[in-house]
């Protein structure tokens, strides 16, 4: 009896959810005619899901009941969507493929090919793909077992001679990554410089307030004209609202879409 709940844990390095799939099968329970309960739903891809559904129906992989499987597949997709699970586009592509095959199977045979025994089964390509995929699934299980065994083996700890050799092995990707890291480091530095030059809300408030109180009135346009960045616009907007709210300043717009003036009262 295969267990239905795997050991799920977070892979710290890749931030991927990993589950120990030994003896674990994806599992959907049918609760009623229209309800399916998903017990475990990480399928590595649409082909996995398809294989699972074919098994569930106890169907022959070489003679897939395409209409039925397509319905099941679409039902599963809908279920995942209803659970707010973002589906990889690959699942949707497979849905389209299934619908296409299904409609081809419904079409009457092309009379030109009538009598041609070898007329291509619309399912053939999919079957080939499933078989190929299945082989690699087995291969990945083998790799999984091997790595599990290998994890029981340890090599020696660092010894003195390694200290003279604090070097790392490199591939082209290491070079690329190193370069990318440098570039990111630079980007951060540049952003920090800009950030330091930028005005704070307190400075903006002080600036606008003093302008209103020295000249008696000022238009919004005059304030905004001098601003350089989006951030400053936001700050100025908040500052104006704050000034209007807390001080004796009136906002006057004489006509629709006309100029807005801030006046000291």
């Amino acid at each position: 009896m295969p267990q239905t709940v795997p050991n799920i844990f977070m892979d710290v390095d890749s931030e991927q959810l990993v589950f120990d799939f030994e003896n674990v099968q994806p599992h959907i329970e049918r609760e009623s005619r229209d309800q399916i309960k998903l017990t475990l739903g990480e399928f590595a891809g649409p082909l996995d899901l398809l294989l699972y559904l074919i098994r569930q129906e106890k169907a022959n992989i070489f003679d897939i009941p395409i209409a039925k499987i397509t319905d099941e597949y679409l039902r599963y997709i809908r279920l995942l969507k209803s659970m707010d699970i973002t589906l990889a586009t690959d699942f949707l592509v497979m849905a389209a493929t299934l619908i296409e095959i299904k409609s081809k199977m419904l079409l009457p045979r092309d009379p030109v090919f009538e009598g041609d025994e070898e007329a291509e089964d619309p399912r053939q390509e999919l079957v080939d793909q499933l078989l190929e995929h299945e082989k690699f699934k087995r291969a990945s299980e083998m790799l999984y077992e091997r790595s599990t065994i290998e994890q029981a083996t340890f090599s020696r700890g660092l010894i003195e001679s390694d200290d003279n050799n604090l070097e790392i092995n490199a591939t082209v990707f290491d070079i690329l990554k190193a370069f990318q890291q440098i570039m990111e480091r630079r980007k951060e530095e540049i952003q920090m410089e800009i950030a330091r030059e930028e005005m704070s809300l307190a400075e903006m408030l002080k600036n606008i307030r003093s302008r209103i109180f020295t000249s008696g009135k000022i238009t919004l346009l005059e304030i905004f004209e001098e601003l350089k960045t989006k951030n400053e616009f936001v700050l100025a907007f908040i500052a104006v609202l704050e000034i209007v709210r807390t001080e004796s300043v009136r906002v006057i717009q004489e006509q629709v879409f006309g100029e807005i003036t801030l006046t000291r009262t």
Partner: protein, 185 residues
């Protein structure tokens, strides 16, 4: 140079076994017999004989260590039976396992190398970019140049680390992919 080699080839088999053991011990990765032969100025057969006898002596001793051939080289490692105590001692947990998606991608790359991203997509039926990134980060795969087709896509293959992490002497030790076919009903 000549003289040095001559002098050194007067080593007995026991001496050679000792030296190989010491060199394998200090190396931080599996040591290919060729490297040993080059450094010691000894013919390949002599080295290989010494390594094999050394392996047998480790087995006969039945201690905490073993000598094994892996990733194209030789390595001293702990015996698998002792993994619980070692883990307890190092306070390590089994390292994070690869996700199902990454394992599948790795299987496709291992058996179809050199292989491009579009080719992997075709077999897996699913985008594999993040898996490929994980595998590159873990150094299990490496790029193998570009393919001479439209777009010149990057080709990938397995690395030496792959062999080591999966306990393989070389790629020929992988069971044939066709063997898995029989298992499909």
């Amino acid at each position: 140079m000549e003289e040095v080699n001559k002098e050194k080839t007067s080593r007995t088999e026991a001496e050679l076994m000792s030296i190989c053991e010491a060199l394998i011990f200090v190396s931080d990765e599996p040591v290919p017999p060729k490297v040993l032969g080059d450094v010691l100025g000894e013919p390949k057969q002599k080295i290989e004989k010494a390594l094999d006898d050394l392996r047998l002596s480790y087995e006969a001793r039945d201690g905490g260590l073993r000598l094994r051939e892996i990733g194209g080289g030789w390595q001293i490692a702990t015996r698998t039976e002792l993994h619980e105590e070692v883990r307890e001692f190092l306070k390590t947990r089994p390292s994070a396992k690869l996700s199902l998606a990454s394992l599948e991608t790795l299987a496709v790359i291992a058996y179809r190398q050199p292989v491009t991203v579009p080719e992997i997509l075709e077999i897996r039926g699913v985008q594999s970019a993040s898996s490929i990134k994980t595998l590159l980060d873990k150094r299990l795969i490496v790029s193998k140049g570009r393919k001479d087709t439209v777009g010149r896509p990057m080709m990938y293959g397995t690395s030496k680390d792959f062999l080591i992490q999966f306990g393989l002497k070389d790629l020929s030790e992988l069971p044939s992919i066709e063997d898995f076919e029989d298992l499909i009903q």
